[in-house]
């Protein structure tokens, strides 16, 4: 009983940080109740009515909380609760097996939920506990002989654990063979409904005025592995959603899916890289500014050169993209786009509009205007801070004329507003800047703390041009992350990690291991399988070759396990004297005088004497000697005499009796010790 409870507890542990606290509490209470009842026999278990009511109540509670029983979170919660209620009514072996089955289902749900490297040992340990529980259930439920329950040997929990461990270890080679060679599906039959729990990340809106403290999360947004030379630090802009709809306070993403994407002339070197995008609740894929095309057919490559999918990125996603950091427009900006990207609310930020117009009037070209605005940021007493004061409805006015302190969002917002006021098409681009180089894994880690926003302006002759006003105010931001610039940003452990070099190095190793795990294990798929076959020397392998390899591996494993386990278990080996005695018995059996199981040496001597009187003397003598050596008082197990007995048995030749025909067939060698 304790074992079934332990298996269920393990299943609960896998989901402890995902399910609601009350689910854990209810499950733990049920486990405690069951354990108390089985140990003390004083706490009665609930009756059938109470159990049914409890089950219905819990189902209703899950329904009320999640509005569904489908989906991973709701399903896991329901499984945990039902397993716990089942535990309350376990009586028979079948009930306990059901609890273990529930626990294995929880393991499956945990795998579907998260498959990080850190959790894998936990999953394996849980599988181990479940298997041991099976052994304990099977042992405890087989009815022992009445009255003989407390036999000399008992199969204890320790034995169950070691037996299960041994069995699982024997199964590992098969698991590896199946994992590598069992052909994977390339599509999916059905999709798992997922709950829409919010995860931090880049959103579709930006209101710099409402944020008074930028919390930088150390969480990884994605990892980028360049197959070409990586771009210079000041070019590592990772393009995300473009915000071009401004109401004076908030920038929004405009979903203009009908707009035509402006063709671009890609200049400079092409950068080719693979992105490992961590799951989030958003639908953006990130690429180095500016991607050439959509990495996959299911990704929409928008008019603003964003990459967007229909489904949220709910699992680790990898894609290969190609980008150029320098581009030039191949066509003039369409009128509609120009109108969109110069729009400003007429009744807001009027001082800024005035400022922009007067500044524009003082210079000749748009390009010079951009420079003059940047010059203003540099010399106008502006400062970078992650804890800026809040801004009012006229956020740009407030920022430019009052506070003059802000982070990237403030500068990008104000800059774009000024450009638009001067009738220059401009927009805010959000994404990430930079990334930490991981020398062990050879990739860049881009974290949520690297989130950034910058501006794009349309300049005649070159098209959309990236301008990062933040870089003017805080040039170091280009080379270093926010955490380097402002050590008090981020949480305490994050800061510790960032300020302790050896810890940071260790962390990088760990991250590289995780990245390897994700790339090689988690994302192991059909292509990887074929790749392995190619390395084994198959030309253009397919599913057939995979099946062949899989079948060969399976057969090899079966043979191996049969060799490990299938041998007839060896009986206990008799000692020297016993072996000599058995040899003597075999010789006599060949002569047609087999020893029956119930005959001791002396009784056997009598049988020999009556069957073959001619052998009475030599054989009877030997048998008596054996009895003396084995049991006698005067010469117990004397080594020299045993050796002599051995020699004489070896030398013994029994001639077939004149009338007795030699026994037919090979006599079975006795397995028993004498």
């Amino acid at each position: 009983m304790g074992w079934a409870a332990a298996a269920l507890g393990g299943g609960l542990l896998l989901h402890l940080d995902r399910v609601a606290p009350w689910v854990s509490l209810v499950a733990l209470a049920c486990i405690a109740w069951r354990m108390t009842a089985s140990m003390t026999r004083r706490a009665p278990l609930p009756g059938a009515v109470l159990r049914t009511l409890l089950a219905l109540l819990l189902v209703a509670a899950v329904l009320a909380r999640f509005q569904t029983l489908n989906g991973l979170t709701a399903g896991s919660a329901l499984l945990i609760l039902m397993g716990a209620v089942k535990l309350l009514e376990t009586k028979t072996r079948r009930d306990e097996f059901v609890v273990v089955g529930t626990s294995l289902f929880l393991l499956l749900a945990a795998c579907l939920d998260r498959q990080t490297m850190l959790r894998t040992p936990l999953y394996l340990a849980h599988g181990w506990v479940c298997c041991s529980t099976l052994a304990m259930i099977a042992y405890a439920s087989s009815s022992p002989a009445p009255g003989a329950a407390a036999g000399p040997i008992l199969f204890r929990g320790r034995d169950a654990l070691s037996l299960a461990a041994r069995s699982l270890l024997l199964a590992v080679p098969l698991a590896v063979v199946l994992f590598v060679f069992l052909p994977r599906m390339t599509g999916s039959l059905w999709a798992l409904p997922r709950s829409e729990e919010a995860v931090t990340g880049l959103g579709d809106t930006m209101s710099p005025g409402s944020i008074t403290r930028l919390t930088s999360s150390y969480e990884v947004a994605f990892r980028a592995h360049f197959t070409t030379h990586p771009p210079a630090p000041q070019e590592r802009y990772w393009r995300g959603p473009v915000l071009d709809d401004f109401d004076g306070f908030t920038w929004r993403h405009r979903a203009n899916i009908f707009a035509r994407r402006q063709p671009l002339l890609y200049l400079g070197p092409a950068y080719r890289y693979q992105i490992w995008l961590e799951p989030s609740s958003h639908r953006w894929w990130f690429a180095l500014d500016t991607p050439v095309e959509a990495p996959e057919a299911r990704v929409f490559f928008s008019a603003e050169y964003e990459l967007q999918t229909a489904e949220p990125v709910d699992e680790l996603t990898s894609y290969v993209a190609v980008s150029h950091t320098a581009t030039r427009a191949a066509e003039p900006l369409p009128l509609l786009a120009r109108r969109y990207d110069t729009a400003l609310p007429s009744d807001r930020n009027t001082r800024s509009v005035e400022l922009a117009r007067s500044m524009r009037a003082r210079v000749n070209t748009d390009r010079e205007f951009v420079h003059s605005v940047l010059e203003m940021f540099r010399t106008g007493g502006f400062a970078y801070s992650v804890t800026p004061p809040g801004l009012g409805e006229n956020s740009v006015d407030d920022f430019l004329f009052d506070t003059r302190v802000g982070f990237c969002g403030h500068y990008a917002s104000a800059f774009v507003a000024l450009m638009r006021a001067a009738a220059i098409p401009a927009r805010v681009v959000t994404g990430y800047l930079g990334g930490e180089w991981n020398p062990i894994g050879g990739y860049f880690i881009v974290r949520q703390s690297d989130a950034h926003s910058w501006a794009e302006v349309w300049l005649e002759g070159s098209g959309w041009t990236r301008v990062d006003p933040t870089a003017v105010v805080e040039p170091e931001r280009l080379r270093r992350g926010i955490l380097d610039l402002l050590p008090d940003a981020g949480t305490a452990p994050t800061r510790l990690l960032h300020t302790t070099p050896w810890l940071a190095a260790l962390w990088q190793r760990w991250d590289a291991a995780n990245a390897w795990w994700n790339a090689r294990i988690v994302r192991f798929n059909y292509e990887s399988q074929l790749g392995i076959l190619e390395r084994f020397g198959f030309d253009s392998p397919g599913a057939r070759e995979l099946c062949t390899a899989f079948a060969a591996g399976l057969l090899a494993w079966l043979a191996w396990v049969a060799l490990q386990l299938g041998r007839t278990p060896a009986g206990p080996r008799p000692d020297r004297l016993g072996r000599a005695y058995l040899r003597l018995c075999r010789k006599l059996a060949r002569a047609g005088l087999p020893r029956l199981p119930h005959q001791g040496p002396l009784a056997y001597a009598q049988v020999v004497a009556s069957g073959r009187p001619d052998l009475t003397d030599p054989i009877g003598g030997l048998l008596h000697r054996y009895a003396n050596l084995r049991y006698g008082r005067d010469e117990p197990m004397a080594p020299l005499r045993i050796a002599r007995f051995e020699r004489e048995v070896a030398r013994l030749r029994i001639r077939p009796a004149s009338r007795a025909a030699p026994s037919t067939g090979k006599p079975r060698p006795g397995r028993r010790g004498p």
């Binding site: 294995l104 000399p152 024997l170 080679p173």
Partner: protein, 334 residues
Amino acid sequence: MKAYLRARIAQWVLRRQGRDTLPLTLRRQRLYILPSRAGVGFGVLLLFMLLAGLNYANSTALFITFLLGGFMLVAMHLCHRNLLGVRLISAIAPPTFAPRDGYLQLALESGAAANRYRIAAGVDHGQTIAADLPGGGSGQVVLPIEAPRRGRIRIDRLCLTTTHPFGLFRAWTWVHVPVEMLVYPRASGALPLPAESGRRPGVRSSREVGADEWIGLRPYRDGDSPRQVDWKAYARAAPLLVKEYAATGSELRLLRFDSLTGLQTEARLEQLARWVLDAEAAGERYGLELPGTSIPPGQGAEHRHRCLTALAVFGVDPAPRFGVDPAPRSDVIP
């Protein structure tokens, strides 16, 4: 339908294996193994996990599924091996008095260096009882056998089975060792022992039991009462000897079926059984006369057994092919 199938399978197994003699070592050829119900459930669970893992291309779930699949195959081997090489040394069913349950005692030997757990034995498809066999050691299983009526209970087929270690598989074997259990009639009836004496009607004795004339000592034989053993001599390192008394002065009872008029056959047999026990306990010599059978007077455990056997099988088919079936337990399957 189920019973018919079982009977057909039993016939096939018997044809395949032939009859067995003890001691018997369980070898590969006679071991059968199938997933238990829990094993089937486990398999279905694995199938579901496999589908989910393939569908979501979830490597962790797939690996764990494969691992558990391999585990199941290993469990099959282990279960098979747990039974392989076990030796059945003896199967004895001592006689009992109806309607008290008798028992079948099986002596098992591990035959392996490692411990064997939960080797269960049962009669045919009946309930099983398990024993653990220490490595290189032996154990025994005592199976209760219902004996509601007198007669012979013939157990044709034993089943040795195990689900150890994980309960996912059940390995078993059939052992065709005919074991016969005699069920004596219930010893009941209040009539006094008949005073009739067959040979010496004139001599009547009022002496105490055990006050008979001492004749001498003879070697101990199976069935002798421990009370008659000369323990003092044994303590002096002599072999086990039994003091023999001549019941010269005692009654010579002739227990006759025909003398019990006015009773049903079964009641008569029960009364006779009572008398046999009483006479034996009193240390008297007694003989038994049944229609068609006559047992000359005698004494001792063996004689008692002879008399009670005659009572047990009285009127019952003396040479049953597969056992007369007085108890519903002994399923008659060849």
